[in-house]
């Protein structure tokens, strides 16, 4: 296959993948924006405290694994040490978020749970911002689809530039568009980074 034909084909395939992703992103985005059209179930908050059965003597990642297995939690995990020196572990799953706080003395585990009934709106809303691979095969598949789409966007951009470069004499202003597309967002990023 000729080089130019191959690049065109890759460009088209990657655009099809982006199309599939964008369709979902737009659909969930429209649902998110028009949230007033949907009945949003209330969030039920419950809190309880349990004594510590196992101290955190390793890394916080290891302790998160222990909590996940011990209490059968699921979802995306993150952890941090807050300003009061507590270790805070979060398990985020659509419709079910749990925050566990381990005190500096490691004597109590405080559980705070937010539960929301799974409706079409809550699922679409949360899948729009879903991150990570945890939560079961369906979530992993969603995350893989997400990654493939992002990869396709890079391929689409690169092949687009390659196609333009071969025909640049016919599209003389391409350099300006390319430079503007790269330099303006980079400039804004740098302003945020270095602004006093």
């Amino acid at each position: 296959m000729k080089y130019s034909k191959l690049v065109r084909k890759i460009h088209l395939i990657s655009s099809m993948i982006i199309f599939s992703f964008l369709l979902m992103y737009l659909l969930t985005g429209i649902i998110k924006i028009n949230h007033n059209l949907f009945e949003i179930p209330p969030v039920e908050v419950s809190q309880y405290t349990l004594p510590v059965e196992k101290m955190m003597d390793g890394t916080p990642r290891e302790y998160t694994k222990y909590l996940e297995e011990k209490y059968n939690f699921r979802g995306r995990i993150n952890f941090k040490k807050d300003q009061k020196e507590n270790w805070v572990f979060n398990f985020n799953f659509p419709g079910d978020n749990i925050q566990i706080t381990l005190t500096p003395a490691q004597d109590t585990l405080h559980f705070k749970q937010w539960k929301q009934k799974m409706t079409f709106f809550t699922v679409a809303n949360r899948m729009h911002v879903q991150r990570g691979f945890k939560g079961g095969w369906a979530y992993t598949a969603w995350a893989v689809m997400y990654d493939i789409s992002c990869f396709a966007m890079i391929i689409f951009a690169v092949t687009g530039v390659l196609m333009w470069f071969r025909a640049r004499k016919r599209f003389r202003y391409g350099w300006w568009y390319l430079a503007a597309g790269i330099l303006i967002p980079m400039g804004i990023l740098c302003l945020y980074v270095f602004w006093k």
Partner: protein, 158 residues
């Protein structure tokens, strides 16, 4: 991290968020005040955070007097990149800031339109080249239906 202090005369404001935003504006910084980054320490001193892409300010409210202490933390390039992504719609609630706060919204809009253009052009190419091919319908159908089925599955099964 850098630390600095500022002398402020903030009137009594009962609403917590309004108070934090008043402190922010008086300091001449910009950013939002997340409700979860707020605590009272064991000595009864109130601390809260003002955050914006690139910086976090941990502010200590004085128990007496009016000298506010600030821990200023720079968060770096990746944090800016990650935080600007969902801020494409604008930085509402970030207060008065420099010109580039609104510039990002203006830049994000044409970028979103370009992506929509990609969708339209893709459909056009597909229609011109593959509309009559059965294989093409199967591939496109699978690509469109897969995420829809996945979303429905998560909704109904969990």
């Amino acid at each position: 991290m850098t630390q600095w202090e500022q002398h402020l005369n903030i009137p009594d404001i009962p609403d917590k968020l309004e108070f934090k935003l008043a402190v922010r504006d008086s300091m001449g910084i910009f950013g939002h005040a997340p409700w979860w980054e707020d605590y009272i320490d064991s000595l009864g001193v109130h601390h809260f955070m003002i955050g914006r892409p690139g910086k976090r300010y941990w502010i200590t409210v004085p128990d007496r007097g009016n000298i506010y202490k600030v821990d200023e933390i720079r968060t770096g390039f990746w944090d800016v990149l990650i935080q600007l992504h969902p801020l494409a719609g604008g930085m509402r609630g970030h207060g008065k800031g420099p010109f580039f706060i609104s510039a990002w919204k203006i830049i994000a809009l044409p970028m979103a339109l370009v992506l929509l253009g990609v969708m339209v052009i893709t459909i056009h190419f597909w229609y011109v080249r593959s509309f009559k091919k059965r294989r093409s319908w199967i591939i496109v159908g699978a690509m469109v239906l897969f995420p829809l089925i996945l979303l429905t599955f998560i909704w109904l099964v969990g």
